[in-house]
Structures are given as C-alpha cells and as structure tokens.
Amino acid sequence: MRRILAAAVAIAALASTVACGNNGGEATSEANQARGPIKVWFSNNKEEVAWGKQFVESWNADHPNEKVTAQEIPAGKSSEEVIGAAITAGNAPCLIFNTAPAAVPQFQKQGGLVALDDFEGARQYVEERTGEKAKQYESPDGKLYQLTWKSNPVMIFYNKALLKKAGADEANLGTYEDFLATARKIVSSKAAPFAIWPAPSNEFYQPWFDFYPLFAAETGGKLLVEDGKAQFTDDAGKAVADFWSSLYKEKLASQEKYNGDAFADGKAAMTIAGPWAIASYGDKVDWGVVPVPTKTAKPAEEIFTFSDAKNIAMFSACANRATAWDVLKAATSKEQDGKLLETTGQMPMRQGLPAAYPDYFAKNKPYETFAAQADRTVEVPNVANSIEIWQAFRDAYSKSVIFGQQEPAAALDEAATKIDGLAKQ
C-alpha cells in the first residue's frame, strides 16, 4: 500500500506540472481573416450525409483553394463526447453541422467555440433568417455561438387503425381530459398494450420528448429556466406533471423501455416525434398528426412545442475562419435549405417556411403541418450547467411522475430549488 501511495504522489506531481503548462491565447483576429482548406463534420444520418455530399461537391467545384473535407460523426448519444474530447485535444473541425443547443454552453465554457458576432453582418444574417426565435439561441454573454439551422418540432402521431379499433375519435386528443379518455379506450379495448410510450429511462434528454413539449404548449412558449429561475413549479408545470402521472398510474404508458420503436411496431397507438419520423413511419403505419394536448382546448395555431433543433457551430481550433464563415453562409442559403428540406424532411429554421418553398409543401402535404408548427417552438434554455439542469429535472420527474415514489408537485419543487442553484453558478 505504501508503494502505491508513493507512486501515486509521483504521478500526481508529474501531472500537475503538465496541467499548468497551458500556453496563452492565439491571435484570433488573424484566424478570422484566414482562408484555406477546412474540415467539417456531418451527422451520420443517411439523408443528411446525402445532402452534405452534394453541398461539399458544389462548394469544392467553385473554390479550388478553399476545399472542404467532410467526415461523419455519430448522430447518437456519443457525439457530444467526441466533440468535447476533440475540443480539449485541439483537433475539432471548423464546423459541425449537428451541434445540439443543449451542449453549446458547455462547449463555450471549454473555450471551444467561435462567437459568430466576430464576423461582419453575422447577427443580421441570423436574425433575418430565423426571426424572433433566434433570440433563444443567444448565450448568456450576449453573443451568438451557433447558427440556427434546422428543427424537428415534435407533435403527436397517432395510429389511425388502432384508434378506430378502440372506438376512439381521432379528433379527440386536444385536451388532457380527452387525451386520457382516448388513452383509456385504447388500453381497455386492447387495441394496443399502451396508449403512448415515451422512453421512461433516465437520460437527461428524455424530458424533451414527454414533459417539455407539453410544458411549452401549456405555457405558450416558456422555457424550462428563464432569468436564472426554474419555471416549471407554476400551475402549468404541475398540470403537465399530473397529466403524465395519470398516464403512468393507470398503466396507459409503460414504465419499461421499449426495445425498438413502439409506435412503428403497433405496441403504442401514439407517439411524440418530429417530421424526421415521417420517412420511417411512411408506409408502415397509417398515421395522423396533431399538436400536443393542453389542459383546456387551444386553437392549433397557438400551440407551442419543443423544437429538437440542431445548429451549426464554428470551433476555435479552426485556422481558416473566413472560409468557414463563407461555407456557413453558403450551406444555409435559400437554395441549400431547400435541398435540405427535400432530402431530409427536416425543417430549415427560416421565417415563413411554407411560403418560402411552396412547391415542396404542395407536393408533400404531411410536412406542411410540421412547417406550420415550426414557427412556434421553444428551445432548451441557453444557460450554464444546461445538461446538469436537465439531469436534475429528469431524476425528479422519473422518481415522482414515472415511478410514483413521491408527489409530483413536491418533487418538482425540490428539483426547482436545485436547478435555481445550478443556474446561478
């Protein structure tokens, strides 16, 4: 044991000398002017890769001295891990076309991101493109570290055949009361084992697909945390928690995780998902789509939801930032946005989307509903400790709402106290 201790002390001493050897800042203004070849990363989702390929090819054909090299990163859980490690090692690419807004505060704290405000006209470009919503993506220091790119506003998909089998009216999902009544019919008639099956697991991002969209709808677009204070302890937050709590208590939603897609497999008659799902449910399920429910009926055009957006960020390891900025603008031009919409079915974050691409939406009716919804979305709050806050929320929600170990109202109050502390730091 003594030997181990001695070795450990020696190792720690060695590490501390290395750890302190950080050298100072770089000449950022020089990098901001520089042009040359750059690297970018795309998500590995098939359609996005196809879109990325055509974009890179068209860019490279016009810019032989500023070539773009593209690589894929996983779309799944580990991408934030990979990006975080790359920032620390100093080998992050110039642009990542799949930056989760929830991870932006962390990347920023790491010194990994370039503020877009450094480039002329950037602020104006983003505001013209996205409108009012762009405000949600501003960081606490007042700067913009992400270019609003695309969203996947989530809505309720329902399985027409299963609802019919249950003898339920498909138009009757607007209020909590109606939704619960329909859910009871689905389960008691054995049309499907469960009415709806959000993942009941404990990952920090799961609230985005159960609590948060309904909270956004109930509050008319409030964020989880605003002005450094948790917002979900009011009547709206408690009503949403009680609603989900009833679904779990009456076994209308499952406490167990489904291995696969419960909606696609007919194990649940409803699901919460964004437009990306249309392609995969397309011919498997005869589905319809409605906005998420609210406590008392609201017209569809007043209902907010969660955006599930992915943005583009520029990383500080980038040497040729002037080129990167040009690529950023070119990739989000009206033409490229249109191609993105066509190949992926995801919603470019532009104002007045349906009007901008009338031909596409005329041909692809199902997407039109989502395009309309895309105007009313809320994002995750852009605050420090963002992921820790979501994890604290999920822990409390899981304990009370899903597993019924505590009163939801009390659990939410406790979580709010913890989150207020985290948001202050």
Partner: protein, 280 residues
C-alpha cells in the same frame, strides 16, 4: 482419472445440457431475430416462421458497410494488441511470477491499480495525451496504444506461472539454463492452454471496442468493424424495416469471427501431456 458410474454421467450430461440451453437461448434468439422480416416480439417469435424469414437485414449491412476494409482494420487493431500482449506481456507475467527483483511488488500493485481504474475516468485525458502530445490521431498506432499490453492478460500469465511447480524451475537452473531459455522451453509450453485463453481474452477487448477507435479515427476507411457496425446500428435503427432485426444482424456479423476463432482454437485449451512432464 476415475470414470463415474453411468447414472451419474447421464445426470451430469443432462445438467450441462440444460445449462447450455440457458446460455445459448438468447444467442439463438438473436439469430432468429436477425432473420425476421417483421419484428415479432411475442414468445412465438422465438421460433422461426418460414413466412417471416429474410436475409434482408444482412444484405443491408453488406450494402452499407465495406466489410472487407472494416475487417482488415479490425485485424490490424486486434492483431497489434495480441502481438504486444503475447510478447511483452508474457515477459512481464513471467517475471512477476517467477523472478525476484527489486520493484516487483510495486509493478504488481500498479498492475492491480490499472485493472481497477475505470476506463471512463481516463478517456479524455488519454485522448488528449495521445492526440496532442504523441500526435497519433488517425493512426493505427494511436488506436492500439492504450490496449497494447493487456494488463488482465499479464495477470493471467502471472497466475498460471505461479501454479507451475517450483521444482521444475530449480531443476532447470541447476542444468544451467538462463531465464529466457526457461521461459521459452519450459514455462511457455506448459501453460499453452493459459496462453490461448489469454489470446482469446485479449482478442475480445479490441474486437468489440467501439468508443476508443471511434474517437481516434474520424475517417471511415480507418474504422474497425465494431465502429462501422455501431455506426450502422445508430443509423438504421429508426428507419430499417425491422430495426431490431438490423441490430441483431449487426451483432451476429460482429460475433461470428470471434465464435469461429474460438471453435478453431478450442481443442488446444486442453493439454494432456502435463502430468508426465511435471514428474521430474
């Protein structure tokens, strides 16, 4: 060795068979599931249904992944690790078990420590070290380095060398053999089963490892099979006709070479000549 009476042998056989069924069932289910066109999650799905069989899941993998280059990358990665472990790890294991030298206790305890440290604790600092300080991003060497000598295997070697009777080594010393000769001519042949066990154990680690080679290589043509399959799984799982089947098919593809290797090597796990050679 005594042979047991017949009823006991039958009983033993039945017990082993039941155990084997318990162990194999999930695996069997994997294969059945990977061949289903439509996911069938009821108990009936455990039996192949001729109307629901397809090779589509496998065909899709073949179309999406360059299996040959992935296999070559896996081979280089795994081969490098095995080579390092068999040569340098064997030397270390032998020294730790059989040779008295200053610092042996410290090395052994460090080895223990390394066993216990969870990889999640080291990932990011290790990544920074290998990429920034050693400059090994996007290289096979960077992929291999953290696994180059498998500490568990060193540990296994040590335990088996410890098990060999002391007299054997004393006799060899008296005959004037040096340590390298003793290791290669006496010790290694005697622990051949253990050696193979360690090779297989070493094989499984890098073969199934996903996160590290993924972190180190961003270019698809450098990625080992486990990485390409994980990528494939996260890609198709929401879109394939049968996502569950796609995952299972991917896992079968990954497991098949390992099972094949095991079947090929398995008869070497037992040596029959030990009893006589130890007598001396």
């Amino acid at each position: 060795m005594r042979t047991a009476s017949k009823p006991i042998r039958v009983l033993q056989f039945v017990a082993l068979l039941l155990g084997a069924v318990l162990f194999l069932f999930p695996f069997y289910y994997m294969i059945v599931g990977s061949l289903q066109a439509e996911p069938e999650s009821s108990p009936a799905g455990a039996f192949p249904d001729p109307g629901n069989i397809t090779f589509g899941n496998y065909r899709e993998i073949h179309g999406a992944i360059d299996l040959v280059s992935s296999l070559i990358n896996s081979g280089i990665f795994t081969g490098g690790v095995i080579l390092g472990t068999i040569t340098l790890g064997l030397l270390a294991g032998y020294a730790l078990a059989r040779l008295e030298f200053r610092g042996r206790g410290a090395v052994f305890n460090t080895m223990l420590l390394i066993q216990i440290v969870p990889f999640q604790l080291l990932t990011v600092p290790l990544y920074v070290l290998i990429v920034r300080d050693y400059g090994l991003a996007d290289s096979y060497l960077g992929m291999i380095l953290p696994f180059a000598i498998n500490s568990t295997a060193v540990f296994v070697f040590r335990q088996y060398f410890l098990q060999l009777p002391r007299e054997l080594f004393e006799a060899a010393h008296i005959d004037g053999a040096n340590e390298v000769q003793i290791l290669l001519r006496i010790a290694v042949p005697l622990v051949k089963p253990a050696l193979l066990t360690a090779v297989l154990l070493t094989f499984i680690g890098p073969w199934n490892e996903f996160l590290w080679p993924f972190l180190i290589t961003k270019e698809a043509d450098m990625q080992p099979l486990a990485v390409s399959l994980a990528n494939y799984i996260s890609n198709v799982s929401s879109r394939a006709a049968n996502p569950f089947g796609a995952i299972l098919a991917g896992s079968c593809v990954l497991a098949a070479p390992a099972v094949a290797l095991f079947v090929a090597l398995q008869r070497h796990f037992v040596s029959t000549n030990l009893g006589s050679s130890v007598k001396g």
